[in-house]
């Protein structure tokens, strides 16, 4: 049982690797059915974001546990890159699912699929996205 699973993201092929690993880990943790696919889809979008904008980065998958509000398990996905960074995070996150035009769903798409979502980005330094999904 790994504590953390690192996947280098350098090319489109790595997107598949990252999401397959995410799928496997999600199932190990106990996610079933649709939730596994949602996790895989979120990873796919985030990884794709790295490939499209930052060229390279890494995705770290891990199990997490929480005690509040009650004991629960989940999966955590951290996507890091040293790309250009996002100038206006708020705006980038606004491009919402409800517009339905969006096919470049990236960040807002992933956020919608997950339970917790944090993003830390600095222009010129890079971006770190942390997201979690919990077993209900």
């Amino acid at each position: 049982m790994e504590s953390e699973l690192h996947t280098e993201i350098q090319s489109a092929a790595d997107i598949v690797t990252a999401r397959q690993r995410g799928r496997t880990l999600a199932m190990e943790i106990g996610f079933a059915g649709v939730d596994v696919t949602l996790v895989a889809a979120a990873i796919s979008e985030i990884a794709r974001n790295i490939v499209d904008h930052a060229r390279r980065g890494e995705i770290v998958l891990s199990r997490v546990e929480n005690t509040h509000p009650h004991s629960r398990k989940g999966i955590q996905i951290v996507a890091r890159d040293e790309g250009p960074g996002i100038r206006d995070v708020v705006k980038a996150m606004q491009y919402g699912y409800s517009t339905r035009k969006g096919l470049g769903v990236g960040l807002p798409g992933a956020k919608w699929l997950m339970d917790d979502f944090e993003i830390d980005s600095q222009v010129g330094k890079g971006t770190t996205v942390t997201m979690r999904k919990w077993l209900h």
């Binding site: 059915g33 649709v34 009650h70 004991s71 409800s98």
Partner: protein
């Protein structure tokens, strides 16, 4: 006799305790020794009082004594080590076993409080000649005992909640069957209030139903749904789209004026959504889409029979 090994002092987390229990406290150690020495009588007394109070009636006397023994020993271990882990595990296990037998929360809390009382009284008896010492022993005992009661109670309640959630799930699944009435046609009657969770569950059921029954048309009847909020309305729209991705078209029937309004508010073009007045109409529309001939029965007044070229 178990060897006492030095353990880390664990801070109490219970909000009901006023002070921290110091598990290296010699008084507490003396208390533990007392409980060990008098294990037999105290357990028996406890079991007797449980029966007198008419608790755990779902269990036999032997079972009560057996569980009482386990709880007692776990109790003493918490007092000795300061760690509630073993007790928590036991409490969860016990809950899993007794809940199906109908044991209720008040019974579990009742027996824990009874044990507390039995032990407290035996302390009164032992230290009756020295009021000061008795007070100090009780001061040591109190926070630990509260924590134990808390742990057992909470474990039981959590397990109960888990069971209730499971049962609710099962009921939800049963209450919204996906019905296959004709080849390639599914009907999903939805009744009652839909929250986001149930909406999601319905969608999953529906999509799997489409695959399992190879449905080309699904009639979703929401006559029995009084109102939906925007989240659920959004969800309904997504369900229609997801069905289409699987090659099935969705007909919505029983759309109340209120729900229609909610849909319009979130920006749904109702003319695009295939909404038909009532379930009967919906089924007829579905059959039309599937290429069936629909002929009106002789009883109904001169409505033209709807025919489609196959």
């Amino acid at each position: 006799m178990k060897k006492k090994s030095p353990r880390k002092i664990e801070p109490l987390t219970s909000s009901s305790t006023k002070q921290r229990a110091d598990y290296s406290d010699p008084l507490l150690r003396e208390l533990v020794a007392h409980l060990r020495q008098n294990r037999t009588q105290l357990r028996e007394e406890w079991a007797r009082r449980i029966t007198d109070a008419q608790l755990l009636t779902a269990m036999s006397k032997e079972e009560i004594f057996s569980e009482a023994t386990s709880v007692y020993d776990n109790y003493v271990e918490v007092l000795e080590t300061g760690s509630v882990e073993a007790l928590q595990a036991y409490a969860r296990n016990l809950s899993e076993r007794i809940i199906p037998r109908g044991v209720e929360t008040h019974e579990v809390l009742g027996i824990v409080l009874l044990l507390r009382d039995v032990l407290a009284r035996s302390l009164f008896k032992k230290y009756q000649t020295d009021f000061d010492l008795l007070n100090r022993v009780l001061d040591s005992y109190e926070p630990a005992a509260n924590r134990i009661a808390n742990t057992v109670g909470v474990s039981f309640v959590q397990e109960r909640e888990r069971v209730i959630r499971q049962q609710q799930e099962a009921i939800r699944e049963l209450s919204t069957p996906v019905l296959q009435v004709r080849e390639r046609l599914l009907i999903l009657p939805i009744i009652g209030v839909i929250d986001a969770h149930r909406a999601r569950q319905l969608t999953e059921q529906l999509l799997r139903g489409i695959r399992g029954n190879r449905a080309k048309v699904v009639v979703v009847d929401i006559t029995g749904v009084p109102t939906i909020d925007q989240t659920v309305a959004n969800h309904l729209v997504k369900t229609v789209e997801a069905s289409r991705l699987m090659g099935a078209s969705v007909i919505i029937t029983g759309l109340s004026a209120e729900i229609a309004q909610t849909l319009v508010t979130i920006g749904v073009d109702l003319s695009k959504m295939n909404a038909v007045g009532d379930l009967q109409g919906g089924i007829e529309e579905a059959e039309r889409l599937l290429g069936y001939k629909v002929i009106s029965t002789p009883e109904s007044p001169a409505s033209a029979s709807k025919e489609t070229a196959a």
